[in-house]
């Protein structure tokens, strides 16, 4: 048998234009691409159904274009535009005689590939099940109406025809039911990745989501995958930081100096040393201990002064301790010891210059007594407070660790915020009861 061409042509009964029919034997209605008139090709003589005057649209994918999706070559043979009253979208009918039909649905610049199901989905616990995957209700009580049509279709499509529709989703997939009084059909569509649709057909790049945009009902959050793959990286970084925290910051070669300070007496200024920083830069840990301060405070100013350059690195500590009795019993507050960490001393030899002042709280009456020889009340000096300074090379800065941890957490937290914004915007379109925790959990499933 001689090979016949698979594409048939006919003259449009309305405008006379040459129209191609690519799915002869299946196609029932053909909408002329030049004048938009609908032609009935179900029967041997092509009959005009509705006459229109102008071409309906110039299409992103011209009819007759072929593209390869998932290893199968498809030809776009029909196009229609539908609306449900809120949003409008386009559907291309794809055909391959060895594989049947598929639908290519374009909405908001995103493309989905739809297959008509031959098995009816199962209903189980509020969800529809197809091939073991469950889909939860998103749109119900919806009506979809055809507004424009070009090309060939396997049913009597007409402008204004309406179907009742319901949609169920899981991330990346939408299960749609369409029915009218005569039949119902189920279609399962999968959202295509940008590179997949653009490798097949020359269409504009699907837009990336930004806060403020509304995602499609079945659009998966791009942040879930990201956060999942980032968690191990963050965890390893955390462990590394912990290791570094323990490795660095050992204190070495402690030296202790001590001196007394009399409360309310003259301030003490002393110099201790030498304290050597052998190489590079180092932090110094100084522990100030005033074990016998009571009902008062000791203010200790320290400075590491470089013997050669006379540059000074300063810090101060305030040690205090108070105690007493009240109705609840004894109380005490204050700290008799402080740990100072001085950062980044360059290599060299240093003197530790200390200025200390102490004060004791108490009325002058308590601390004065009669001096019979002088014949007057004289204030009694308090016993001196012992100040002990322990200086060690090196310091463990826990604050650095927390700061680093915060920095490591900032990008994943940012992704989490974006994910919440995305899912909020997506779930806001859902019909029926307000989205609850299970909707959020479903949104995190892998496509």
């Amino acid at each position: 048998m001689a090979e016949e061409a698979t594409v048939r042509t006919l003259a449009c009964p309305a405008c006379g234009g040459t129209v191609a029919m690519r799915a002869a034997g299946y196609t029932v209605t053909l909408a002329c691409e030049y004048c938009g008139s609908l032609i009935d090709v179900a029967h041997p003589d092509a009959r005009l159904i509705t006459r229109y005057a102008e071409a309906q649209a110039s299409l992103t994918i011209p009819l007759g274009t072929r593209g390869s999706l998932r290893g199968v070559e498809w030809e776009a043979i029909g196009w229609l535009e539908r609306t449900d009253g809120w949003a409008a979208w386009e559907e291309y009918l794809l055909f391959n005689p060895y594989h049947g039909y598929r639908w290519l649905i374009a909405q908001d610049g995103q493309w989905s590939l739809g297959t008509m199901l031959t098995a009816i989905p199962r209903y189980d616990g509020g969800e529809m099940i197809v091939d073991g995957r469950s889909y939860s209700s998103f749109y119900h009580d919806n009506k979809a109406r055809v507004t424009r049509v070009v090309g060939e279709f396997y049913w009597r499509v007409k402008i204004g025809e309406e179907v009742r529709s319901r949609d169920y989703v899981r991330p990346g997939f939408m299960l749609s039911l369409e029915e009218d009084d005569r039949e119902q059909s189920w279609t399962l569509s999968e959202l295509l990745l940008a590179h997949e649709i653009r490798q097949a057909f020359d269409v504009p790049r699907p837009p990336r989501w930004w806060p403020g945009m509304t995602p499609l009902a079945h659009q998966p959050s791009p942040y879930v995958q990201r956060i999942r793959s980032w968690v191990p990286i963050g965890a390893i970084t955390l462990i590394a930081l912990l290791v570094l925290l323990t490795l660095f910051g050992r204190t070495m070669q402690p030296q202790t100096f001590g001196f007394p300070v009399t409360p309310d007496g003259a301030s003490v200024s002393q110099s201790f040393g030498p304290i050597t920083v052998p190489i590079g830069r180092q932090a110094m840990t100084v522990e100030t201990l005033t074990s016998n301060v009571e009902q008062g405070w000791v203010d200790i100013d320290i400075a590491f002064v470089n013997r050669k350059t006379q540059e000074s690195y300063e810090a101060y500590a305030l040690n205090e301790h108070y105690s007493g009795y009240d109705s609840d019993g004894g109380w005490s507050e204050g700290s008799r010891s402080q740990t100072l960490k001085v950062a980044s001393l360059p290599a060299g030899t240093y003197d530790l210059v200390v200025d200390a002042q102490a004060h004791h709280w108490g009325s002058s009456a308590d601390s004065s007594s009669w001096n019979p020889i002088a014949g007057r009340y004289e204030s009694v000096t308090q016993p001196p407070v012992d100040v002990s300074l322990t200086v060690a090379r090196g310091a463990r800065f826990l604050s650095n660790f927390w700061l680093a941890l915060l920095l490591v957490l900032v990008p994943p937290l940012l992704m989490l915020v974006l994910h919440i914004l995305f899912e909020n915007a997506r779930l806001a379109q859902k019909d029926g009861p307000d989205p609850d925790a299970s909707d959020w959990i479903r949104g995190m499933a892998n496509p």
Partner: protein
């Protein structure tokens, strides 16, 4: 295997299956019926319109656990379209049907329509109408009515189990269920019949000798 001379034009008419009494003469399109006394012409089959079906007479494959060969076809039309039903001659000598519509294939075998019958089927057999979405339990499985059509035989070719004259009218009701199974009920003026089977893809049949369609790459099946 039996070859007779076409009573209308004299060409060779080959009957491959002993069970199938009718064959469309490839040359003059006469419907030749084989009887004990000889071959008889019982009408003429209309010319099949051009279509782009990937199946052809001679396509072979595997279905219902058996190898098959396509040996005949009936094309049915209804108000809003048309489809093919291909006759599969199974390796065990029985036959089955491969319905082809909208790029979907239903493999069906006739079963006896006997009691106990699903209520829907009984109503259909009595001439009462049903609506899409109605449930029916056939042979222990639940089905849903998917469409009801009045269909007309458009044309046919090859070997057939019945004469299929153009213009032969029948009521056809299709069912499908959640496991991909399907059923078809057909009733004309004289009798009612029931077919049971399942949806298949072309790949499921491991087909060989599919029709070559220029401009399209034939997939490597079978």
């Amino acid at each position: 295997m039996q070859t007779v001379a076409c009573p209308q034009c004299g060409a060779d008419v080959l009957f491959r299956s002993p069970a199938l009494p009718v064959r469309v003469c490839d040359y003059c399109r006469a419907l030749v019926v084989r009887r004990e006394q000889g071959a008889q012409v019982m009408g003429e089959a209309a010319v099949l319109p051009f279509d782009i079906s990937p199946v052809q007479i001679g396509t072979m494959g595997h279905c219902f656990g058996l190898d098959f060969e396509i040996i005949g076809r009936v094309r049915w039309s209804w108000e809003d379209g048309a489809w093919n039903e291909w006759l599969m001659l199974m390796a065990d000598g029985n036959h089955a049907w491969l319905g082809e519509a909208m790029g979907q294939f239903m493999a069906l075998r006739e079963v006896e329509l006997k009691n106990p019958m699903a209520k829907v089927l009984r109503r259909l057999a009595n001439g009462t109408t049903v609506v899409p979405g109605e449930k029916a339990t056939i042979s222990g499985h639940d089905y849903v009515v998917t469409d009801i059509r009045t269909v007309t035989c458009l044309a046919c070719e090859g070997e057939l189990p019945f004469t299929a004259p153009s213009g032969w009218e029948a009521l056809s009701v299709d069912f499908r269920n959640k496991d991909g199974w399907c059923a078809s009920f057909q009733k004309d003026r004289r009798e009612a019949s029931l077919y049971l089977g399942h949806y298949v893809t072309l790949a499921d049949l491991s087909p060989r000798n599919l029709r070559t369609l220029p401009g399209w790459t034939m997939p490597a099946y079978g």
